[in-house]
Symmetry: none
Subunit: 401 residues, 2 copies
């Protein structure tokens, strides 16, 4: 029996409120063996207090050793098996720039490249144009039309752009045109089924017209496409859990991921304080709140240990205002670890705390990687966190008599 | 590969003996955060000694956050995936009153209700009749016959009764006739496949005759039916593990669950001492013994913390007599937690201990929720406990060369 069928069968509505706070890339590593992680270094009285009041543990985002991107990392936290529900690269790219993806859209990541006189790729990133230049070239491509579909071209950064085809009956089983090599021409798009052949045909037309436009734009005189993807078919949080769900996130990617599972995406302002204010204002309107904090990840990606420590301390300071709303279930976790030492996402389990009246409190008095190892939640798969949230919220009935 | 196929392939017979003692609803919660659970409060020298001699851990009955009923809780402990093998409500109701369910039986939970002059339900529980009255009305229904099948009507309690149709080719995919509402008449039974349409036809005949009998019995002048269920097709413990298995349980529900997996259900007397005496008497006749203790659950359900503590202490006192029989594998666990604080079953992991010569003993010296967190068995799914039991009994050969 699929866990989601079980949830649909057992779920109950009771007016309780769940707050899931995701500090992106929360988990870290010590810079030297035996040292302290970013979280352990931070002064974090409020996270420690929550750890004392509740129960802690370590979340495994996907599987031991598997480093997730933001997509799988968040899907897991929302209770969707990240190995079962895949979000294609094109979709993530589109979500990342805040493009409102629809059910009939095929989203594609595009790269400008430089083609030589024979049409072979000489630079896969077209000499890394400035983002201003990217916008300029994209604007020229926007004049292209393809009969029967809507075409959207959106700049991302440097040589990167997003291409979206909107229309009935478009499939996404189309190969990348990027050969991932120089000295060869871009590949032709081919569809793997009838609907995807239709997409390939549309894409071919677009590429032909784009080639004409770009001809005189050297070094950005060519393009490659990859990650053809439609939105995955996924039950909404409302359908699955019966929760009226709201996302309070500042960055487009996380708003997009929340929209994908049917959350209402609220105006979150620009700062954590804005987000907490929004949370308080809409408290009566929803059952489930997803609050996303970005800077624990971005400072980790930068390899800036002290900055990540500082961002954790800033995050810590916002905790009391959230708890003051008295959520029935209050959860703090991350979608993955982002150790400054690695300057990247990692697979390491993520410190997690849960506060609720029905907690079997543990002896842990601090919120850190090393203390969570001894917490009552143990080590669990991220996809099971929502089961615990629902249970502690009194929203899951008994299975079997 | 299904775990059960693996077991069948690897299992070996060696005359060793396994005792599985289930203290129903064993796990608990502190009444106040940071306090002690029922088990932690109890004086339990013998459980602690067993914890010291063996290895402990925490059993997750189904999945994190999922609260099991007795059926799934015990199936898991017997090594059957509770999400794969479902026991219908009608079956559980029949097992609960000690009805000897057979393979051709469709079991149904019945409720007496009150119908108004138009045949609409005005009280779904018929004013909660006394159990004596329930027995009286059930006795009148026992005169009803339906050609081609045997009919059994058994009183349960107040407005509840069990209805069983025994006959070849009866299916159980029949809708509840209980509309779960007042002001509407009971629904007609409809079958979802040929065999279930046959059942629906039989049930319709029964209802017509019952209506005539009940007409003058207001307020118990109607009935609704739900949870149509046949016995699940399930391998016996003998077939699966090659274990001659015996159940020593006092309450009908647990005898019934044991019968479902093919255990011999022995006369267990009325008390824990009776049960232990029975265990000693039949020691030579079986390989596997399931001993069930109810009162840790019932006191938890009552929300009576001190009574649950007392029942744990009583349970503790019976441990030495069981261990004196020198089982090769001695296990104490629960089918789920029943915290007095919640007055209900819960999803919290269950303290578990296992004593055998092959234990990798841990540093844990007490048997409690908090100490089991640090035990050598870690946190495991209940359905894997029998694998450990078989392994420690020397009854599982090597997988692969």
């Amino acid at each position: 029996m699929h866990t989601h069928d079980l949830i649909r069968e057992l779920r109950e509505a009771n007016g309780s409120k769940i707050v899931l706070v995701v500090a992106d890339g929360l988990g870290g590593l010590p810079l030297t063996p035996g040292g302290k992680t970013e979280l352990e270094t931070a002064v974090r009285p409020n996270l420690d207090a929550a750890a004392r009041d509740g129960v802690v543990g370590l979340s495994v985002p996907v599987l031991p050793g598997i480093t997730p991107g933001s997509g799988p990392g968040h899907l897991g936290l929302f209770g969707y098996d990240p190995l079962e529900h895949r979000i294609g690269r094109g979709i993530l790219e589109a979500l990342g720039i805040g493009f409102a993806v629809g059910p009939n859209d095929v989203c594609i990541r595009g790269n400008f490249c430089t083609l030589d006189a024979e049409g072979k790729i000489s630079d896969r990133r077209a000499g890394r144009p400035t983002t201003e230049r990217c916008i300029e070239v994209v604007n020229k491509l926007r004049s292209i039309t393809v009969p029967g579909v809507e075409v959207f071209v959106e700049p991302v950064k440097e040589h990167r752009f997003v291409l979206v085809f909107r229309g009935d009956g478009l499939g996404d089983a189309v190969n990348d045109t990027d050969p991932q090599a120089v000295g060869v021409p871009p590949l032709a798009p081919n569809g793997n089924d009838a609907a995807s052949r239709r997409t390939a045909e549309v894409v071919s037309q677009f590429i032909a017209k784009a080639s004409a436009v770009l001809k005189t734009e050297s070094p950005t005189n060519g393009l490659t496409l990859r990650g053809f993807a439609k939105q995955p078919k996924i039950a909404t949080m409302q359908e699955l859990y019966g929760l009226r769900s709201a996302a309070i996130a500042v960055y487009p990617m996380y708003k997009g991921l929340a929209r994908l599972v049917g959350m209402d995406v609220l105006d979150a302002g620009q700062t954590l304080n804005d987000q907490v204010e929004r949370l308080a204002k809409v408290w009566g309107d929803y059952d489930f709140f997803f609050l996303h904090y970005k800077y624990t990840d971005s400072t980790g990606e930068d390899g800036n240990f002290p900055a990540k420590v500082q961002m954790i301390e800033k995050f810590d300071a916002a905790i009391p205002a959230m708890r003051a709303l008295k959520p029935d279930v209050f959860i703090v976790t991350g979608d993955h670890s982002t150790p400054s030492k690695m300057k990247s996402h990692s697979w390491h389990p993520v410190p997690t705390l849960l506060v609720a009246d029905t907690c079997r409190t543990d002896a842990v008095t601090e919120f850190s990687e090393s203390s969570c190892l001894f917490g009552g939640l143990g080590r669990f798969e991220a996809k099971h966190l929502m089961l615990l949230a629902m249970a502690h919220a009194g929203r899951l009935g008994k299975y079997g008599a």
